[in-house]
């Protein structure tokens, strides 16, 4: 940011202080993530930069922890990855369907008790996770769903729907309802109207809500810790136990993969957000 030429010296100094502070905060935010990359290629077992690594000696780097992650017998990362994806995918589908349908009802101007119902629907997002964990555990234990995939999926649907409800209602707030009336006047039934007219228009909101739900489920550890048995272990649970017992470089290899995954999700979410902003811009 260039300063105008007439800026007085002490404001100029102040401006550079401000830029330095900003740079420091950005560094604080992003730098910790980049420690993980190089250490995951460490040839040694220690979680510090070896002298070889500081000299950029090729021998100090290796893929052994990635091999251990994939072929290692001790770490059930394979099972955890499979479980994580199954649970996250079904939880996302469930959240998206329930959340989108509910958002359609909530954004109707005829909806009674809108505020109260909205508060109930987004409560799982507001209540601290540990309390949700305890409550959901009591329910699943009573329903006989503790330590089952179905139980964890249902739990993650509870935690994921608020995001879908919020993003989809936000998208629908700029939605021009005359298009659905036009479709109805042309003889389309409500389901057809929804699939052909409404859904394509609100799709960016639905997908970004779905992404939130997916990430919530994929990262979730507090509730899963209460619910999961040995068979239902997920990536976060494995990471949690690994971090508690002993921080091994294999965990860093997994963490690197997770950072790559989150980068992909970030890019998708950003593209969607821009597309939706552009579409809403045209509507105005």
């Amino acid at each position: 940011m260039a300063l105008p030429k007439y800026t007085e010296p002490h404001y100029r100094i102040w401006h550079y202080v401000y830029l330095t502070v900003c740079a420091a905060v950005f560094f604080f935010l992003i730098a910790p993530l980049f420690v993980i990359f190089p250490l995951s290629f460490n040839a040694e077992e220690f979680l510090v930069f070896s002298d070889g690594m500081k000299r950029l000696d090729p021998d100090a780097f290796s893929l052994r922890w990635y091999k251990d992650m994939i072929y290692g017998t001790k770490n059930p990362w394979g099972l955890a990855t499979k479980n994580s994806f199954i649970i996250a995918i079904f939880a996302t589908i469930g959240s998206v369907i329930l959340g989108t349908v509910a958002a359609l009802g909530l954004s109707s101007r005829h909806m009674p008790y809108k505020g109260l119902i909205m508060a109930v629907l987004i409560s799982p997002m507001i209540v601290p996770l540990i309390i949700s964990g305890v409550a959901i555990f009591f329910f699943m234990a009573k329903a006989g769903l503790a330590a089952t995939h179905l139980g964890i999926i249902l739990a993650h649907i509870i935690l994921g729907t608020p995001f879908v409800v919020i993003t989809v209602t936000a998208t629908l707030s700029g939605f021009d309802h005359s298009v659905t009336r036009a479709a109805a006047s042309l003889g389309s039934n409500p389901v057809n109207t929804f699939m052909k007219i409404t859904l394509p228009l609100i799709l960016p909101g639905v997908i970004s809500g779905g992404l939130f739900a997916f990430v919530t489920s994929f990262d979730e550890v507090v509730v899963v810790l209460f619910l999961a048995g040995l068979e239902n272990t997920t990536i976060p649970i494995q990471m949690w136990t690994g971090l508690r017992e002993q921080l091994s470089p294999t965990i860093l290899a997994v963490a690197t993969c997770l950072i790559i995954l989150s980068t992909l999700i970030l890019v998708t979410a950003e593209l969607l957000r821009r597309r939706s902003e552009r579409l809403r811009g045209i509507n105005r």
């Binding site: 509910a102 964990g133 409550a135 249902l154 990471m239 989150s262």
Partner: protein
């Protein structure tokens, strides 16, 4: 046609008003039916279980049901001196039944919550009670152990008679009901829960303050920079936001360890001696640093979305009217960002107050929060009713914060990017 009827009729011959009302009702039902599946799902799987937590936290039926005859006999007992033979006989009958059902262990655990020292004397009683002779149970039970002849232990049993109790809530505040039914605090050196509540509030408060101080400048920069630069910098905020919590905690565990980069850096600039590296993890420092970095995006995003809507011409107008940049900022810009500040602080504070994973990993013994205590009772001591009581106390606190926020700023003013 309309001259004959005062009401306006639709083509079906129904008055327009009635017809409109009917249509309105149909629309209402339609909208409600769309919301219904999710609403009922959340109510059944989430709202009711929270109610269940409430029931569990005050439920004390277990002991009431285990010693029905004893409590019936105790109704007449004034609780001042040792009870009569009648009570001892009833207790013996109840106890024999529990031993047959192998439930006396549960009884001892439960009574031990009320008063320490029940575990061993119940074990002893189980062994001896097999050879009891009929009649004069008072003498026989009192002979098992001197604590059975101590009136305080019988008073402790009587205290467990009601089916509902607020005792777990008192325990959560480090208080208890003493022998004469007064509510008193536990001795100073045993007040673990009060320490935890205060620490949770303290950490949540300071993390919120740190996040605010760090987020305000960068949100301002992001909002004022040209799009192409700000989009690039936005990645620095969004990438941590989308990255797994455990990954970020792991990176702090690497950075903050004694041979870690942060310590290396401090040694490098000569701040600390190499052989005297400070412990930065497994204490409060670890919790502060890691939680601030992890929660920072939740402060930046609401601030940014509010700041972006503030027109730069306002600041220029303030300056052109004679204000220095500082005055213009303080009188014009800052008040406009208050909704964002409110939303960010609320979000960060509430997330911090219920934090579990990060403090458990980097907080050590002195950096853990109330959530860790709840998890500990859920998973280790299995005192679920106590965990429920503490959870509900935390929930009440969180809801109170929302209520205050709503009064001060208005919940509708929240903007989440």
């Amino acid at each position: 046609m309309s001259s004959e009827t005062k009401q306006i009729l639709t083509t079906d011959g129904i008055p327009l008003e009635v017809s409109l009302k009917k249509a309105e009702r149909r629309n209402k039902i339609k909208a409600f039916l769309l919301v219904a599946p999710l609403l009922f799902f959340i109510i059944i799987t989430y709202v009711f279980p929270i109610g269940d937590m409430l029931m569990r936290s005050v439920d004390d039926k277990m002991v009431t049901e285990m010693l029905p005859k004893t409590f019936k006999a105790m109704e007449k007992w004034d609780g001042k001196e040792l009870p009569e033979e009648e009570v001892f006989a009833a207790f013996h009958l109840d106890f024999i039944k529990l031993v047959e059902e192998k439930r006396e262990g549960k009884l001892s655990t439960q009574l031990n919550y009320t008063k320490n020292g029940f575990k061993s004397i119940i074990k002893k009683l189980r062994r001896k009670s097999k050879s009891f002779e009929e009649g004069n149970y008072k003498e026989q039970i009192m002979a098992v152990h001197k604590r059975w002849a101590n009136v305080e232990y019988w008073q402790a049993i009587k205290r467990r008679a009601p089916a509902y109790t607020g005792q777990k809530y008192l325990k959560g505040m480090d208080m208890f009901k003493n022998e004469s039914g007064e509510i008193v605090s536990v001795p100073e050196d045993r007040r673990i829960h009060r320490v935890l509540w205060l620490r949770t509030l303290e950490i949540a408060f300071f993390v919120t303050v740190f996040c605010f101080l760090m987020a305000y400048p960068i949100a301002h920069l992001l909002a004022t920079l040209p799009m192409k630069y700000s989009n690039l910098l936005m990645i620095c905020v969004l990438l941590p936001f989308w990255t797994s919590l455990l990954v970020r905690t792991a990176s702090w565990m690497i950075l903050l360890q004694q041979q870690g980069l942060v310590n290396d850096f401090f040694v490098g600039i000569g701040l600390v001696a190499d052989d005297n590296r400070p412990e930065m993890m497994f204490n409060k420092t670890g919790s502060y640093v890691a939680m601030t970095q992890i929660l920072l995006p939740f402060m930046v995003l609401p601030l940014y979305s509010v700041m972006k809507t503030i027109s730069p011409s306002l600041m220029r107008a303030g300056k052109s009217l004679g204000g220095t940049p500082f005055v213009a900022f303080w009188k014009v810009y800052f008040p406009l960002t208050i909704p964002g500040i409110g939303a960010g602080c609320l979000l960060v504070f509430i997330l911090a107050i219920g934090y579990y994973i990060t403090p458990a990993l980097v907080g050590g013994a002195s950096g853990t929060l109330i959530s860790n205590q709840i998890a500990f009772h859920m998973k280790s001591t299995l005192d679920w009713s106590f965990a429920s009581a503490m959870g509900l106390m935390l929930l009440t606190g969180v809801l109170a914060i929302y209520w205050v926020y709503n009064k001060l700023v208005g919940i509708d003013n929240i903007k989440l990017g």
